[in-house]
């Protein structure tokens, strides 16, 4: 070895191109990981918490066809679509399957007055304002944000509920408009040609003077 002792080994020739390659690809990789991994489509969509009672929307809203508003009766008047009080369950379950072990927590709640602790599925960030009533009264269906709840055994979060997602509709609301009497009909689809559908939506927008705000203050108030 002798005088060659202090010479860089041969592999060190790769350091410069290697560093350049890393420098060129890593930022792209980092952007991809953040955009893909931090997106609400990854972190929020598909959230299906375990509820204290295995209540099936597929049975009650789907098979039996009970209107969403039978239970979520504040949705047309308030910002918040209320989770029903135990009394609403007991309207029927005082008689139907009243001894079922699955319904036991409902009966307990009814007897003690202690509310059932349902787990919230759709939870917007605390700095955003959302009003259910203004949407359903103008013909934006439940299905636009909550998906086909009438087919869900257990409710999960179907949509991103992110700011970009809200703005998509606020920029172009027409595809989500329908006659307000049809908002709780989750299976409804426009029956007709694509051209007629466009006209139908445009007409509704006109009729209700729908001009959704895109100002920051619309939701961050």
């Amino acid at each position: 070895m002798g005088r060659y002792h202090y010479v860089f080994p041969k592999w060190s020739n790769l350091l410069l191109p290697g560093a350049l390659l890393f420098g060129a690809t890593f930022p792209l990789y980092a952007i991809y990981v953040v955009a893909y991994g931090f997106s609400p489509a990854t972190t929020d969509v598909g959230y299906m918490p375990k509820q204290p009672i295995p209540y099936s929307h597929a049975l009650h809203a789907g098979e039996l066809g009970i209107d969403c508003r039978y239970c979520h009766n504040t949705v047309e008047d308030a910002a918040h679509a209320a989770i029903p009080p135990t009394q609403t369950c007991m309207n029927c379950h005082a008689h139907i399957k009243k001894d079922s072990p699955l319904i036991q927590p409902v009966r307990e709640s009814w007897e003690t007055g202690e509310p059932i602790r349902w787990v919230r599925v759709h939870d917007l960030p605390d700095y955003s304002y959302f009003n259910h009533s203004v949407h359903v009264n103008r013909g934006v269906s439940c299905v636009s944000c909550h998906g086909r709840v009438d087919l869900m055994e257990e409710v999960w979060q179907e949509e991103k509920l992110s700011m970009g997602w809200c703005l998509e509709c606020h920029r172009n609301p027409e595809p989500h408009l329908r006659d307000p009497s049809l908002v709780t009909n989750l299976a409804w689809k426009f029956d007709g040609e694509a051209k007629e559908e466009t006209e139908y939506h445009a007409k509704l927008r006109d009729q209700f003077a729908i001009n959704p705000s895109q100002d920051c203050s619309a939701c961050h108030r």
């Binding site: 972190t43 959230y47 299906m48 066809g65 009766n73 989770i83 509310p115």
Partner: protein, 225 residues
């Protein structure tokens, strides 16, 4: 070389985890990697608040107080009762301030279909989907009916209900009757009147149709003779 292979294998891990999170349902609470101010120390409607003994963030009205619009001094509006010859009787009209017109009846129909039709059926015959399911449970095996006790919801076209004044129908909707629960808490007072008016219209549609049918058959039989 080895370093590159190990490095890129590890680099694949975060996208793989994200892809898995995208494709599967999750029972776990949502993780917001960038928290911003998503969860602030305040309470929203119907949340639990450990600071109160009953654990509710929403407070019940203080005892002895009445919320705006909830004062009950109008017997006609609130109870469906009126004074006639110094006797309290069922009201036969809707209270002052409400008017039976097409808009009111449409509202009544919509509310009826939401709150009443599940049991009483869309045409009031007592054959709604809840009745049909409950009846299936009663008729089926006892191990699946879990103590279901069921009385068929009333057919609103029975003479007894056709004869009831609108005030009495309103009171039944409000307070319930026999096994039917009251809908006072679920349906606002004006809507309960709209439903009562719609029930009256529904009954009328049935009797009118019958009378028309009768007169039509009469005409037909007279023509035949």
């Amino acid at each position: 070389m080895i370093l590159t292979i190990v490095g890129s294998t590890f680099a694949l891990l975060p996208p793989a985890i994200a892809a898995r999170m995208r494709s599967e349902m999750s029972r776990e609470p949502r993780i917001h990697i960038i928290q911003n101010m998503d969860n602030q120390s305040r309470w929203k409607a119907q949340q639990a608040n450990p600071l109160f003994a009953d654990g509710r963030a929403m407070r019940l009205p203080v005892e002895g107080t009445v919320a705006r619009s909830e004062i009950r001094i109008d017997d006609h509006l609130e109870r469906g009762r009126i004074m006639m010859d110094s006797q309290e009787v069922w009201a036969t009209t809707v209270p002052a301030g409400l008017e039976i017109d097409q808009v009111f009846l449409n509202r009544g129909q919509e509310r009826y279909n939401i709150y009443c039709a599940p049991c009483h059926g869309w045409s009031g015959l007592g054959d709604g989907p809840i009745h049909r399911r409950a009846q299936r449970l009663v008729d089926g095996s006892p191990s699946e009916s879990y103590g279901t006790v069921w009385v068929q919801p009333k057919n609103l076209h029975e003479q007894m209900y056709v004869d009831q004044p609108i005030g009495q129908i309103y009171a039944t909707i409000t307070l319930g009757a026999r096994s039917m629960a009251g809908y006072k808490a679920q349906v606002p007072v004006e809507d309960r009147w709209a439903i009562a008016a719609y029930v009256k219209a529904l009954q009328l549609s049935e009797t009118e149709a019958e009378q028309e049918l009768d007169s039509a058959t009469d005409d037909a039989s007279m023509g035949g003779e």
